[in-house]
């Protein structure tokens, strides 16, 4: 017998690739992936911005030199600067001028002109790394200066709290979008099984197990999820890049290549999770639907 192996067509997928109304499903999946990407980038951006602000705050100290007499303002303030200079050698110490210090107090005391002899505290801003409140306080005490030192820890705590809330909002949104993705895939699998019931009937008739049939839908949903996620997340990354370049978002956007690269790795992970969720939804739905149909016999 003449075996015409050259005529054999390539192995075709058992479920048809092109289905009616499948474009609408693609649009939904791409939009979901886009929104999921945005939610993730929002959470990551919030974390990054909070971290950036906290770093900035932890690198500054504000010293208030308390005075009994306004006439010693310059002398006491300079003494404080000269005392702290050797304690924090790399730090930048800036004396806030008396006029600026008065301007800072003014909102608290009303619009009336401040008395000339009002003892306005001497203000110094220290910027640098490894600034320490206790060390500074000890040095100023030793110099005989009465001073209050603020390391901005109150603001840092508030920032941390705000950042936590923003991250929570971002991750909750992401979770809800993935849940919606799960539901959409359950619905799509049911619709797909209804549309392809003749094929399923034939497969069952030739002895295909539920597992075999479910695998077909899992493969189809995984491919759909992976492609939808790739397109949606790529769009999200592109839009985030545009926002970072065009807007003044600071650490919330992508301030540098490293931040963008790390976020893209996170997006790749999210894409894998998205595809797995699609596959999982299809597998569970197909298995349950086949069992249900069998019981209905």
């Amino acid at each position: 017998m003449n075996i015409v192996t050259g005529q054999i067509p390539p192995e075709a997928p058992l479920l048809p690739g092109k289905l009616r109304n499948v474009r609408a499903l693609w649009v939904v999946l791409i939009i979901m992936a886009l929104l999921a990407g945005f939610a993730l980038l929002f959470a990551r951006g919030s974390l990054r911005l909070s971290g950036e602000w906290q770093t900035q705050l932890s690198d500054t100290l504000t010293v208030q030199v308390m005075l009994d007499d306004a006439s010693v303002w310059e002398q006491q303030t300079k003494l404080a600067r000269d005392t702290l200079g050797p304690v924090f050698p790399g730090a930048d110490i800036e004396i806030i001028s008396e006029a600026e210090a008065r301007a800072l107090i003014k909102p608290w005391l009303g619009n009336a002109a401040l008395p000339e002899n009002l003892p306005v505290p001497g203000l110094l801003n220290l910027t640098g790394q490894n600034l320490n409140v206790k060390t500074a306080q000890a040095a100023l005490d030793a110099a005989g200066l009465s001073a209050n030192i603020d390391d901005n820890s109150r603001y840092a705590d508030q920032l941390r709290g705000t950042a936590r809330r923003l991250v929570f909002i971002g991750l909750s949104t992401l979770f809800l979008i993935l849940l919606a993705g799960l539901s959409v895939n359950i619905f799509a699998t049911r619709a797909g099984m209804t549309a392809q019931k003749e094929i399923i009937r034939v497969l069952v008739q030739v002895g295909a197990s539920d597992k075999f049939i479910a695998k077909l839908f899992i493969g189809q949903a995984f491919r759909r999820g992976a492609i939808g996620a790739a397109i949606g997340l790529a769009l999200a990354a592109l839009m985030w890049l545009c926002l970072s370049i065009l807007g003044d978002w600071g650490g919330f956007g992508w301030p540098n290549f490293g931040a963008g690269a790390v976020d893209i790795l996170w997006l790749l992970g999210l894409g894998a999770v998205f595809a797995v969720i699609c596959a999982l939804a299809a597998g569970v739905t197909a298995t349950r639907q086949l069992a249900f149909e069998r019981k209905r016999l």
């Binding site: 017998m1 003449n2 075996i3 015409v4 192996t5 005529q7 054999i8 067509p9 192995e11 075709a12 058992l14 048809p16 003749e198 094929i199 009937r201 034939v202 497969l203 069952v204 008739q205 030739v206 002895g207 295909a208 197990s209 539920d210 075999f212 069998r294 016999l297």
Partner: protein
């Protein structure tokens, strides 16, 4: 064209059971005991149907339209569950089969339905290879068998064609090839000559005879008395939901 002569055989289609003379001592492949079936709350389509299909037998199932032939076949290929009564398939009570066991038995049954049930987006080759693909065989393992069988049933030149482009006879032969490719122990056909002209019908009947000669148990539902007359085979008839032996009067 069905390129089959009585002297031809197909690779792998060796007789797996002894020939007709020894069949009386062989166990039944299918055994119905007082089987009844009703759809929903409707009347019983089958009532106390009792029959057996010995291994290696060739049986026609006949009766008027609507008598329940297709229903009885569906029970035979485990597509329906009886309302009452006992069905034994390959010696196993069908009611006690787990789903994997049920699917394993289905893989031993080839079915040719009236409307063929070919998958339209798969080529003739893919449709015929389906039972082997489902059973987990690799393409390399089944390729030669599929090609050889397609040539045997006269579809060697139509391997890459898709069902919508096939004639009725070609569809029928494609469905038959799919039913026999996995070398089933039992072949069930529902009106297999209903959609083809008499000449092709006779060729198909010869194909079934050849398969039976090689050991496959055959059950064919038909109301075509000419077809029944062409073969000296056992005849069961359904009347009033009951199964009787012998040709209709």
């Amino acid at each position: 064209m069905v390129g089959l002569t009585s002297s031809e055989s197909v690779k792998g289609y060796r007789p797996t059971v002894p020939q007709q003379a020894q069949m009386s001592s062989l166990p039944d492949l299918v055994n119905f005991e007082r089987v009844a079936l009703r759809y929903g709350r409707g009347p019983e389509v089958l009532t106390d149907a009792t029959l057996d299909l010995p291994q290696g037998s060739f049986t026609f199932l006949t009766g008027p339209s609507g008598a329940g032939k297709s229903t009885l076949l569906k029970l035979c290929y485990l597509s329906l569950i009886p309302s009452r009564g006992l069905i034994r398939m390959f010696g196993r009570d069908s009611a006690l089969l787990s789903n994997p066991e049920r699917q394993a038995i289905k893989r031993r049954i080839g079915v040719v339905l009236q409307d063929f049930h070919l998958i339209e987006h798969l080529s003739v080759y893919e449709n015929v290879a389906l039972p082997l693909r489902v059973s987990g065989q690799s393409r390399a393992a089944y390729n030669d068998d599929v090609v050889e069988l397609l040539q045997w049933v006269g579809l060697g030149h139509r391997m890459q064609a898709y069902p919508p482009t096939l004639s009725g006879g070609e569809k029928q032969r494609c469905a038959i090839a799919r039913a026999v490719i996995a070398k089933p122990d039992l072949l069930i056909a529902d009106e297999p000559t209903g959609n083809v002209d008499p000449a092709i019908g006779r060729r198909l009947l010869r194909l079934f005879s050849e398969m039976n000669r090689m050991g496959t148990t055959i059950l064919i539902a038909t109301h075509d008395t000419h077809l029944i007359d062409e073969l000296d085979a056992r005849v069961l008839r359904i009347e009033g939901g009951r199964v009787f032996t012998g040709k209709p009067q």
